[in-house]
Amino acid sequence: MPDTLLPVMPPADPPAPARSALMPLRVRDLTLQMRGQPLLDIPALDLDCAGTTVIMGANGAGKSLLLRLLHGLIAPSSGTIAWGGAAMSPAIARRQALVFQKPVLLRRSVAANLDFVLRARRAGTAEARDALLARVGLTHKASQPARLLSGGEQQRLALARALATRPDILFLDEPTASLDPAAVQSFEGIVSDIADEGTSVIFVTHDVGQARRMAREVVFLHQGRITEHSAAPRFFAAPQSRAARAYLAGQLPL
């Protein structure tokens, strides 16, 4: 008796994560100059995707500056930034969080670092703190001085602290640049879960492998300008700009 053949169905695309309430992002005619030097010139940038958007580019391309502009940490020389149809404001910045390349941890215990933010946001319960510690795998380190953690643990604590603010947008500025592969994998796993839960993640990296693993969309910056903005599969399969092609080939874009 022949085996019963079941119809072969193509694997379904994973469901798209929910879109953040602060989306879409609309950037228009954005420029940034410092000491007379033009650093960024972005005529238009629209982001409306759920999940993780990766901003890529070589050192000095302006990735971190763009992130700080989008978070309101620095003011543009000209142009506008609007989130969800509203101009950038302190109220919007409160609904965003940023994890820096080098974590700046308070001179306190691991738990106290989280308690500080939870209290500041009036969300301070021991249960909330313990849940965050469990999420980043630091429950067993709760009472240790934060600055004595390993680099990977410090960055996971910085991520937990960012999550304590319950952000709609999570900015990550090369957070794994100095971590070992195991720590990178652990960090990326947590970020993927966060993105799947509906927080829009904007991730700056110059690590091509990481961008392939994390990105749904890629914004490629070269010398302060966006030379490419496309869905990640398309970007990695057929980059349109010469700078992006050179970068993905491991060459210095000129």
């Binding site: 978070h71 308070l106 500041a120 001085p145 600055r147 004595l148 603010t165």
Partner: protein, 235 residues
């Protein structure tokens, strides 16, 4: 005038035998200077923190003023406090002149600028490290100041100890507003000045020894605080 060796021997005997007069003077010195240090910290730490994190017109002038006030001559502070507390002064009705309270007021005025200026420097350095993170967390000015004071706590203990050291060692201000009255306002420094002028070297030397031990103790405490902080990466 006694031989120096005899004087040292008598001084040690006074200290080791627990001479009541000697310890009355030492305890009053500690009470006055520790209270003045506490007041200076309550006023000076927040002032230093606000100066560290605020940007306002005239800030540079304020910093110059606070730094200059670190060098206030004790006798000038004593004179100003005396003029205010004397019978004819605006605060004469309080009847505080020649009391330990007057001495506490004078020492508080003397060391508050020291605490404010040193804490401003400590907290400004820390703020430079934290400011971008704090702005990202959208903290209020009050939350920033509280967090900075707490995180700089070990360095600020050293600042407080510096203020206490200055207070307990000064003689000019407490002499003018306290009057060096036996069993009432006599502290170590004024007693040393008086006993030396009288030629009673053992008591002066004994008090000097206690002051030196205090100075050593303060430095040892400051060093211990620094080492503890470094061990836990809290420095």
């Amino acid at each position: 005038m006694q031989d120096f060796g005899d004087a040292i021997g008598l001084a040690l005997n006074l200290v080791l035998s627990g001479d009541a007069d000697l310890f009355e003077i030492v305890l009053l010195s500690l009470r006055v200077s520790l209270t003045a240090t506490a007041i200076a910290c309550v006023l000076g730490l927040p002032l230093g923190a606000v100066l560290a994190v605020s940007r306002f017109r005239g800030r540079q002038a304020a910093l110059v003023l606070v730094n200059a006030l670190m060098g206030l001559p004790p006798v000038v502070v004593g004179l100003i406090v005396y003029l205010h507390l004397s019978r004819a002064g605006p605060l004469g009705f309080l009847g505080l002149l020649y009391t330990p309270t007057a001495m506490i007021i004078a020492q508080s005025i003397l060391i508050t600028p020291i605490v404010a200026a040193l804490s401003r420097q400590v907290i400004e350095d820390l703020h430079g490290e934290y400011s971008e993170q704090f702005r990202s967390l959208a903290l209020s000015r009050r939350q920033v100041v509280q967090a900075l004071i707490w995180d700089a706590r070990y360095s600020l203990v050293t600042v407080a100890l510096a203020g206490f050291g200055r207070a307990v060692a000064e003689v000019g201000a407490v002499m003018i507003v306290g009057g060096n009255i036996d069993h009432l306002t006599r502290v170590m420094t004024t007693a040393i000045a008086l006993e030396t002028s009288k030629g009673d070297l053992p008591l002066a030397l004994a008090l000097g020894l206690v002051l030196m031990v205090l100075a050593l103790g303060i430095n040892a405490a400051a060093q211990s605080v620094r080492l503890t902080a470094a061990r836990f990466a809290y420095a």
